[in-house]
Subunit: 240 residues, 2 copies
Amino acid sequence: MPTERIAALVFDVFGTVVDWREGVARNAAAFLQRHPGARQDAYAFADAWRARYSPAMEEVRSGRRPFTRLDQLHRENLEAVLPEFGITPAAVPEEELQWLNRAWHRLEPWPDSVEGLSRLKRRCVIAPLSNGNFSLLLNLAKYAGLPWDAIMGAELAQAYKPMPQAYLRTAALLDLPPQRVCLVAAHNGDLAAARRCGFKTAFIPRPREFGPNQQTDLMAEQDWDWVAKSLVELAGMLGA
Amino acid sequence: MPTERIAALVFDVFGTVVDWREGVARNAAAFLQRHPGARQDAYAFADAWRARYSPAMEEVRSGRRPFTRLDQLHRENLEAVLPEFGITPAAVPEEELQWLNRAWHRLEPWPDSVEGLSRLKRRCVIAPLSNGNFSLLLNLAKYAGLPWDAIMGAELAQAYKPMPQAYLRTAALLDLPPQRVCLVAAHNGDLAAARRCGFKTAFIPRPREFGPNQQTDLMAEQDWDWVAKSLVELAGMLGA
């Protein structure tokens, strides 16, 4: 493994570094309890909200819509999901909707994330390469104690993963050739897109990201440059 | 002072957080010693190089030239300065020119900078808002141990300070109204431009930035929101 040549590790965040499903469900539960008439299933709420994530970005990726921040897409998706749980968005105070929409800014890291990142940071640059917008990723880092060197991702690239521009513009901002940047992700599709751009790849399976019945991304589907069970294990592999 | 409403502190870097003159002179001295025929005055070299900084950016600010990274402007300025010291750029190995050009990535912080930033970081978001390009600021942070939450500045804004877009696009990326962002700088002109955009302002005089005979920016020229002798003193004022 060409570990000596990696100058930056960039990370998928939702699912790879933080547990979005537990975090969104926790926030949704508090919200639903304030609306006793609503369907009280916070995990179903998290899953329904997340199910609209990729289709919303696809509108942007396809060019049918100009680049739009994830906070805005989340908000539109939230207003679409609320009626499925018996809630009329217009009847909810704006402040409460904003609070719930920012659940994505308040997610817990996986147990190995902060230690793993802290060790990897001693060895090279670490930054998110996420579809989350800049302020979301920044607030999330402050909330979860993620010790990034910089905040990067779709908003800076003005392109959502897995569009090649999302990876290539990130490498360009770092002033590094793609082969000196490694994407760390729990999703084979993300890694495949990064590899096509010349990035190195590290797979960290997160078999509970989608809950107890997860069927996808349970194992490496290509010969990724590194495969580790946690960010702490990855740090060990990279000598950090 | 409305300290409770500041959500992010953004910092000028060259002169405010790091001592560019000493650092560039240190690197230039090592370079000049490898060229015994050259004029051996490293401080004069640093000053001559820096003198071309603002005019080079003015080409971009005026619209005569598309946005160009500071690393590239520094390189062009370096090739213009070398003959003044008796060196023909084309006769210097490319690797050596690149090393010297990256002197701006290897500058020491002022003695109070790391402690001050570390304390301020506990209270709110801290990030550079510098004319340095993204990778320069990132490398500098790793070199000098600057604990930024994010890297921001002219390259992300695609506008050099003191153009209003440099400040306004930074606030927009933070998803904050300008009045919740405070610029910290050693330069009255930078603060005046930030204030015109609605930013709060903090002045930290750095009376030796330009060497022992500095005549400018020795004192506050407006009633800035805060004036402190160091970043540690500013942290105390902000209760951090």
